[in-house]
Protein backbone atom coordinates (compact mmCIF):
# COMPACT_ATOMS: atom_id res chain seq x y z
CA UNK A 1 0.00 0.00 0.00
CA UNK A 2 1.37 3.37 -0.93
CA UNK A 3 2.21 5.55 2.02
CA UNK A 4 1.36 8.67 0.01
CA UNK A 5 -1.89 10.30 0.90
CA UNK A 6 -4.25 12.02 -1.44
CA UNK A 7 -5.27 15.31 0.06
CA UNK A 8 -8.18 17.53 -0.78
CA UNK A 9 -8.56 20.66 1.26
CA UNK A 10 -11.92 21.96 2.15
CA UNK A 11 -12.88 24.74 4.57
CA UNK A 12 -14.12 22.10 7.00
CA UNK A 13 -11.47 19.46 6.67
CA UNK A 14 -7.97 20.18 5.54
CA UNK A 15 -6.93 16.64 4.83
CA UNK A 16 -8.67 13.51 3.72
CA UNK A 17 -6.87 10.30 2.98
CA UNK A 18 -7.73 7.77 0.36
CA UNK A 19 -8.22 7.67 -3.36
CA UNK A 20 -11.90 8.61 -3.66
CA UNK A 21 -10.78 12.13 -4.47
CA UNK A 22 -11.64 14.51 -7.30
CA UNK A 23 -8.28 13.81 -8.88
CA UNK A 24 -7.19 10.22 -8.44
CA UNK A 25 -3.92 9.16 -10.03
CA UNK A 26 -2.70 8.92 -12.73
CA UNK A 27 -1.94 12.55 -13.28
CA UNK A 28 -0.60 13.69 -16.64
CA UNK A 29 1.83 16.57 -16.98
CA UNK A 30 2.71 18.08 -20.34
CA UNK A 31 6.40 18.68 -20.97
CA UNK A 32 7.46 22.28 -20.47
CA UNK A 33 9.61 24.41 -22.71
CA UNK A 34 13.11 25.18 -21.50
CA UNK A 35 13.50 28.76 -20.31
CA UNK A 36 16.57 29.41 -22.36
CA UNK A 37 17.56 27.02 -24.95
CA UNK A 38 17.01 25.50 -28.27
CA UNK A 39 19.02 22.58 -29.52
CA UNK A 40 19.84 22.60 -33.21
CA UNK A 41 17.16 25.22 -33.68
CA UNK A 42 14.42 23.25 -31.96
CA UNK A 43 12.87 24.06 -28.56
CA UNK A 44 13.87 21.87 -25.65
CA UNK A 45 11.07 20.32 -23.60
CA UNK A 46 11.61 18.90 -20.14
CA UNK A 47 9.65 16.61 -17.80
CA UNK A 48 8.59 18.98 -15.04
CA UNK A 49 5.89 18.50 -12.40
CA UNK A 50 4.56 20.97 -9.86
CA UNK A 51 5.61 20.46 -6.27
CA UNK A 52 5.93 22.43 -3.06
CA UNK A 53 7.99 21.84 0.05
CA UNK A 54 6.53 21.84 3.55
CA UNK A 55 8.25 22.24 6.92
CA UNK A 56 6.09 22.51 10.00
CA UNK A 57 3.52 25.22 9.30
CA UNK A 58 5.62 26.76 6.53
CA UNK A 59 5.36 25.88 2.85
CA UNK A 60 6.71 27.19 -0.41
CA UNK A 61 4.73 28.27 -3.41
CA UNK A 62 4.26 25.69 -6.12
CA UNK A 63 7.56 25.05 -7.89
CA UNK A 64 8.68 23.21 -10.96
CA UNK A 65 10.35 19.95 -10.10
CA UNK A 66 12.50 18.40 -12.81
CA UNK A 67 12.14 14.64 -12.90
CA UNK A 68 15.64 13.17 -13.08
CA UNK A 69 15.86 9.39 -13.20
CA UNK A 70 19.64 9.64 -13.01
CA UNK A 71 19.58 11.42 -9.66
CA UNK A 72 19.59 9.33 -6.50
CA UNK A 73 17.90 11.90 -4.29
CA UNK A 74 15.69 14.95 -4.19
CA UNK A 75 17.78 18.09 -4.39
CA UNK A 76 16.58 21.66 -4.04
CA UNK A 77 17.93 25.17 -4.08
CA UNK A 78 19.01 26.39 -0.66
CA UNK A 79 16.94 29.51 -1.40
CA UNK A 80 13.93 27.43 -0.42
CA UNK A 81 15.29 26.70 3.04
CA UNK A 82 14.89 30.41 3.77
CA UNK A 83 11.24 30.32 2.69
CA UNK A 84 10.66 27.28 4.90
CA UNK A 85 12.58 28.49 7.92
CA UNK A 86 14.78 25.41 7.76
CA UNK A 87 18.01 25.72 9.71
CA UNK A 88 20.52 23.94 7.50
CA UNK A 89 23.12 23.98 10.27
CA UNK A 90 20.84 21.49 12.00
CA UNK A 91 20.84 19.07 9.08
CA UNK A 92 20.22 15.31 9.06
CA UNK A 93 23.32 14.59 7.01
CA UNK A 94 25.60 16.05 4.40
CA UNK A 95 26.73 14.59 1.09
CA UNK A 96 28.56 15.67 -2.01
CA UNK A 97 27.22 14.85 -5.44
CA UNK A 98 29.35 14.87 -8.57
CA UNK A 99 27.15 15.83 -11.48
CA UNK A 100 28.21 16.90 -14.93
CA UNK A 101 31.80 17.47 -13.88
CA UNK A 102 30.84 19.63 -10.90
CA UNK A 103 30.67 18.80 -7.21
CA UNK A 104 27.69 19.96 -5.17
CA UNK A 105 27.40 19.78 -1.40
CA UNK A 106 23.90 19.01 -0.18
CA UNK A 107 22.63 19.29 3.38
CA UNK A 108 19.68 16.99 3.96
CA UNK A 109 16.52 17.54 5.95
CA UNK A 110 13.47 15.31 5.96
CA UNK A 111 10.52 17.53 5.12
CA UNK A 112 7.13 17.30 3.44
CA UNK A 113 6.56 17.44 -0.29
CA UNK A 114 3.35 18.04 -2.17
CA UNK A 115 2.65 17.07 -5.76
CA UNK A 116 -0.02 19.09 -7.57
CA UNK A 117 -1.86 18.25 -10.81
CA UNK A 118 -0.78 19.87 -14.04
CA UNK A 119 -3.21 22.80 -13.76
CA UNK A 120 -1.63 23.69 -10.39
CA UNK A 121 -4.95 23.67 -8.54
CA UNK A 122 -3.99 24.74 -5.04
CA UNK A 123 -6.49 22.55 -3.23
CA UNK A 124 -5.57 19.21 -4.79
CA UNK A 125 -2.30 17.58 -3.88
CA UNK A 126 -0.58 14.49 -2.60
CA UNK A 127 1.73 14.85 0.36
CA UNK A 128 4.53 12.71 1.70
CA UNK A 129 7.75 12.99 3.67
CA UNK A 130 11.21 12.60 2.14
CA UNK A 131 14.81 13.65 2.65
CA UNK A 132 15.66 16.73 0.57
CA UNK A 133 19.23 17.83 -0.06
CA UNK A 134 19.55 21.61 -0.09
CA UNK A 135 22.29 22.88 -2.40
CA UNK A 136 24.02 26.27 -2.47
CA UNK A 137 24.71 27.90 -5.83
CA UNK A 138 21.81 26.21 -7.57
CA UNK A 139 22.03 26.32 -11.39
CA UNK A 140 19.39 23.91 -12.60
CA UNK A 141 16.24 24.92 -14.49
CA UNK A 142 13.58 24.97 -11.77
CA UNK A 143 14.16 24.87 -8.02
CA UNK A 144 13.80 21.16 -7.32
CA UNK A 145 15.32 18.00 -8.82
CA UNK A 146 13.19 14.90 -8.23
CA UNK A 147 15.32 11.77 -8.10
CA UNK A 148 14.96 8.20 -6.95
CA UNK A 149 14.78 8.31 -3.16
CA UNK A 150 11.74 10.30 -2.14
CA UNK A 151 10.07 10.56 -5.52
CA UNK A 152 10.65 7.65 -7.88
CA UNK A 153 10.18 5.27 -4.94
CA UNK A 154 6.84 6.95 -4.19
CA UNK A 155 5.30 6.94 -7.63
CA UNK A 156 5.50 5.09 -10.91
CA UNK A 157 6.58 7.74 -13.38
CA UNK A 158 6.39 7.29 -17.12
CA UNK A 159 8.00 9.95 -19.30
CA UNK A 160 7.41 10.03 -23.03
CA UNK A 161 9.06 12.58 -25.27
CA UNK A 162 6.93 11.10 -28.05
CA UNK A 163 3.74 11.96 -26.16
CA UNK A 164 5.43 15.07 -24.72
CA UNK A 165 4.02 14.22 -21.31
CA UNK A 166 4.76 12.59 -17.98
CA UNK A 167 2.35 10.23 -16.25
CA UNK A 168 2.52 9.92 -12.46
CA UNK A 169 0.78 6.87 -11.03
CA UNK A 170 0.53 4.97 -7.79
CA UNK A 171 3.83 3.24 -7.23
CA UNK A 172 2.26 -0.22 -7.47
CA UNK A 173 1.33 0.55 -11.07
CA UNK A 174 4.71 -0.70 -12.27
CA UNK A 175 4.19 -4.15 -10.77
CA UNK A 176 0.61 -4.19 -12.02
CA UNK A 177 1.86 -3.53 -15.53
CA UNK A 178 4.95 -5.71 -15.67
CA UNK A 179 4.61 -8.09 -12.74
CA UNK A 180 6.72 -7.98 -9.59
CA UNK A 181 10.40 -7.63 -10.42
CA UNK A 182 11.81 -7.23 -6.92
CA UNK A 183 11.04 -10.14 -4.61
CA UNK A 184 10.22 -9.23 -1.02
Amino acid sequence: MCSCVAVFRTPMSRCMSGWAEPRPLPWLFPYQEDAQSTRLGEPIFRPFVQVSLVHGDQSTSQLTGLIDTGADAILASSLLSVELGVDLEDHDGEATHAVGGRVHAARYKTIGLRLYPSDSAEDVYQEWQAPVGFVEGWKSDGFVLLGSVGFLDRFTVTASRFAQAVAVEDREAFDDRFGPVLSA
Binding site: P30, E33, A35, Q36, T60, S61, G100, D119, E122, D141
Partner: protein, 63 residues
Protein backbone atom coordinates in the same frame (compact mmCIF):
# COMPACT_ATOMS: atom_id res chain seq x y z
CA UNK B 1 -0.68 16.27 -25.22
CA UNK B 2 0.62 19.71 -26.06
CA UNK B 3 3.67 20.88 -24.11
CA UNK B 4 3.52 24.08 -22.11
CA UNK B 5 5.05 26.82 -24.25
CA UNK B 6 6.21 30.04 -22.63
CA UNK B 7 7.64 33.17 -24.19
CA UNK B 8 10.59 33.95 -21.93
CA UNK B 9 11.95 36.80 -24.07
CA UNK B 10 12.51 39.98 -22.09
CA UNK B 11 12.65 38.16 -18.76
CA UNK B 12 16.33 37.16 -18.90
CA UNK B 13 17.98 37.42 -15.49
CA UNK B 14 14.63 37.42 -13.69
CA UNK B 15 12.81 34.76 -11.72
CA UNK B 16 9.38 34.02 -13.11
CA UNK B 17 6.11 32.36 -12.17
CA UNK B 18 3.79 30.90 -14.79
CA UNK B 19 0.08 30.27 -15.11
CA UNK B 20 -0.16 26.51 -15.59
CA UNK B 21 -3.24 26.79 -17.79
CA UNK B 22 -1.85 29.27 -20.30
CA UNK B 23 1.94 29.07 -20.01
CA UNK B 24 2.08 32.85 -19.62
CA UNK B 25 4.42 34.55 -17.18
CA UNK B 26 2.38 36.24 -14.46
CA UNK B 27 5.07 37.25 -11.95
CA UNK B 28 8.66 38.33 -12.61
CA UNK B 29 11.34 39.84 -10.44
CA UNK B 30 15.11 39.75 -10.06
CA UNK B 31 14.68 38.74 -6.42
CA UNK B 32 13.62 35.08 -6.16
CA UNK B 33 12.11 35.61 -2.73
CA UNK B 34 9.74 38.24 -4.14
CA UNK B 35 8.49 35.79 -6.77
CA UNK B 36 8.20 32.94 -4.28
CA UNK B 37 6.25 35.14 -1.90
CA UNK B 38 3.90 36.57 -4.54
CA UNK B 39 3.17 33.13 -6.02
CA UNK B 40 2.40 31.48 -2.70
CA UNK B 41 -1.24 30.46 -2.40
CA UNK B 42 -2.03 31.70 -5.89
CA UNK B 43 -4.20 29.17 -7.68
CA UNK B 44 -2.88 27.68 -10.96
CA UNK B 45 0.48 29.43 -10.61
CA UNK B 46 3.89 27.86 -10.15
CA UNK B 47 7.37 29.34 -9.88
CA UNK B 48 9.55 28.19 -12.73
CA UNK B 49 12.91 29.62 -11.72
CA UNK B 50 15.42 32.02 -13.23
CA UNK B 51 15.42 32.78 -16.93
CA UNK B 52 19.03 32.63 -18.06
CA UNK B 53 20.66 34.89 -20.59
CA UNK B 54 21.18 33.48 -24.05
CA UNK B 55 24.93 33.17 -23.63
CA UNK B 56 24.72 31.22 -20.37
CA UNK B 57 25.57 27.53 -20.62
CA UNK B 58 22.83 24.95 -20.87
CA UNK B 59 22.55 23.05 -17.59
CA UNK B 60 21.04 19.58 -17.53
CA UNK B 61 19.96 18.38 -14.11
CA UNK B 62 22.39 19.99 -11.70
CA UNK B 63 24.82 20.63 -14.56
Amino acid sequence: MEPIRTDFKGYEGQYVAIDARTGKIVIADKDPHVVLRKAKGRNHVFVRGRVPYADEPLYVGMG
